[in-house]
Amino acid sequence: MANITWKTEDGNEITVDVKDGLNLMEAATSNNVPHIEGECGGCLSCATCHVFIDEAWLAKTGEVDDIEDTMLEMTDVERRDNSRLSCQIIASPELDGLIIHVPEPE
């Protein structure tokens, strides 16, 4: 279990206990986090689950592999150094307290 907070640009926060093993795109869509769609279901084809990871947590969310790195070129809001596709981050106790910033497309 990990307690995870999504912060949106308009100042809203959604905090949820996420079961281990779920990816954070699923966790977000299940809990109505806005702007996270996950159209492809997490198979790295759509880039609609793009998030910014709070800098302090970046290392703990793991490495960006080649495919994710490529798909991050397709995001609606331009990628930054702390960009991730949230379908590639799997909930685990190490992520307890994680803060995620949700980009808002135009």
């Binding site: 869509t29 109505n32 159209e39 279901g41 198979c43 084809s45 759509c46 080649d66 490529t70 397709m74």
Partner: protein, 406 residues
């Protein structure tokens, strides 16, 4: 209170419409009616991870079951709609209940084409693959050593063949055309997937014509081909295309042409009725087309919610698709309809490559096999209307990322 917006059909398009409607803060009440017992779920994993048994049912739900009620959306599952009365702005369910609507959104999807009854399509161990219930029915057949006959070498047939081989079944796949994926892809893509399936032990036969299924006591035991050869089978999976569910709309007098005809705002020939996803057809680059894809269903559902909220939007998304077979990830950007030239771009690894489709000198689509860069940058390049020459994309030295930024 005003009459609700009624959504008929509870799939990807419906979920996308509802999500956007709520996100936009539109206060108009929603009623979602679906004929399956479940809330909208993702269909693509059905023929992949769900059939493999790697994904729980709940994880397929696009939103959790409770999500709808929590947001004031009324749902009626297990309910079929019998008719629409556009003049009176109401629908009647199979139970005889009449429900008034302010606007109607048709997300009725498509259904699998059956093998004709005359050659055995109705037999009990003959399956099609469309709904979660279809998988639940066929999965007891997916046991090591069982013999599976697959009719049709399109994406569904090939994905099912891959899962069946991974689970240890013996698989024969029959394709009537001279190559698999003939209807949807260039020869090079067909060649790639033929080789992939042969290397995984599928007995893949092209230009193969089925005469009939052979039965004993109502169950299929095999098939006879038109050259007289017989093939043993414990079960049969039919993947020979799909049919739009447009009968309800047709009976209501809406214009239909290969699905429910809609304009660029997804409006049907009735001003208060819209349609999204597999069930509808729309004009793209001068021709009326119908797409069966998550992208199309999601984007059209989303667009209708925006139209209802007063946004001035038109449907013009670039189509994209994907398929997973064994370890191979196929990603497709654009639509290759009418292509007259293809170029192969080698990928970084032996099993990766991309096929670039041109029509009258214009780049229109890319099939990328284990080559996400070709897919991602190809999609960007096509979306931006850039038109690199075939020789440029075929040159492995060309940096696609730089090309996409031009």
């Amino acid at each position: 209170m005003s009459d609700p917006i009624v959504i008929i059909g509870a799939g990807q398009a419906a979920a996308s419409f509802i999500s956007r409607h709520i996100a936009l803060g539109n206060q108009q009440p929603l009623l979602l009616i679906g004929d399956e017992p479940l809330p909208p779920y993702q269909r693509p994993p059905l023929s992949k991870k769900y059939l493999l048994g790697e994904l729980d049912r709940e994880r397929l739900f696009i939103r959790p079951q409770q999500w709808y009620a929590d947001r004031g959306v009324t749902t009626r599952f297990n309910t079929r709609v019998d008719s629409i009365a556009p003049g009176d702005k109401n629908i009647t369910t199979e139970n005889g209940e009449t429900i008034a609507y302010s606007q109607l959104v048709l997300c009725t999807g498509s259904r699998a084409r059956d093998l004709p009854d005359a050659i055995g399509g109705h037999l009990e161990n003959v399956f099609t693959l469309r709904n979660m219930a279809d998988i639940d029915e066929m999965s007891p057949e997916f046991k090591p050593g069982r013999k599976l006959l697959i009719i049709g070498g399109g994406y569904i047939g090939l994905e099912a063949a891959a899962v069946a081989r991974l689970l240890g079944l013996e698989v024969v796949l029959l394709e009537m055309a001279d190559r698999v994926l003939q209807r949807v892809a260039a020869e090079q893509t067909s060649d790639y997937f033929r080789k992939l399936h042969l290397s995984h032990g599928v007995d893949l036969r092209e230009s193969a014509r089925l005469s009939r299924l052979i039965k004993i006591d109502g169950r299929v035991t095999g098939a006879e081909l038109d050259d007289g050869e017989t093939i043993d089978a414990d079960s049969v999976l039919v993947g020979i295309g799909s049919i739009p569910n447009s009968e309800l709309a047709e009976a209501a007098g809406l214009d239909c042409d290969n699905g429910i005809s809609v304009n660029q705002t997804c409006q049907t020939s009735d001003a208060n009725i819209y349609a999204a996803g597999d069930c509808c057809s729309f004009i793209r680059e001068g021709s009326r087309i119908r797409l069966e894809s998550v992208q199309n269903a999601s984007d059209q559902g989303d667009l209708i919610a925006r139209v209802f909220a007063g946004e001035d939007v038109r449907y013009k998304s670039l189509p994209w698709f994907w398929s997973d077979q064994y370890g191979c990830k196929l990603q497709i950007a654009g639509l290759n309809h009418g292509f007259d030239q293809t170029m192969v771009r080698p990928g970084a690894n032996e099993d990766s490559q991309s096929i670039w489709y041109y029509r009258e000198g214009n780049l229109i689509a890319v099939d990328a096999m284990n080559d996400p860069k070709a897919y991602a940058f190809g999609r960007k390049i096509i979306d931006a209307g850039l038109n690199p020459a075939p020789e440029v994309v075929a040159d492995p030295g060309t940096d696609l990322k730089a090309l996409a930024k031009n």
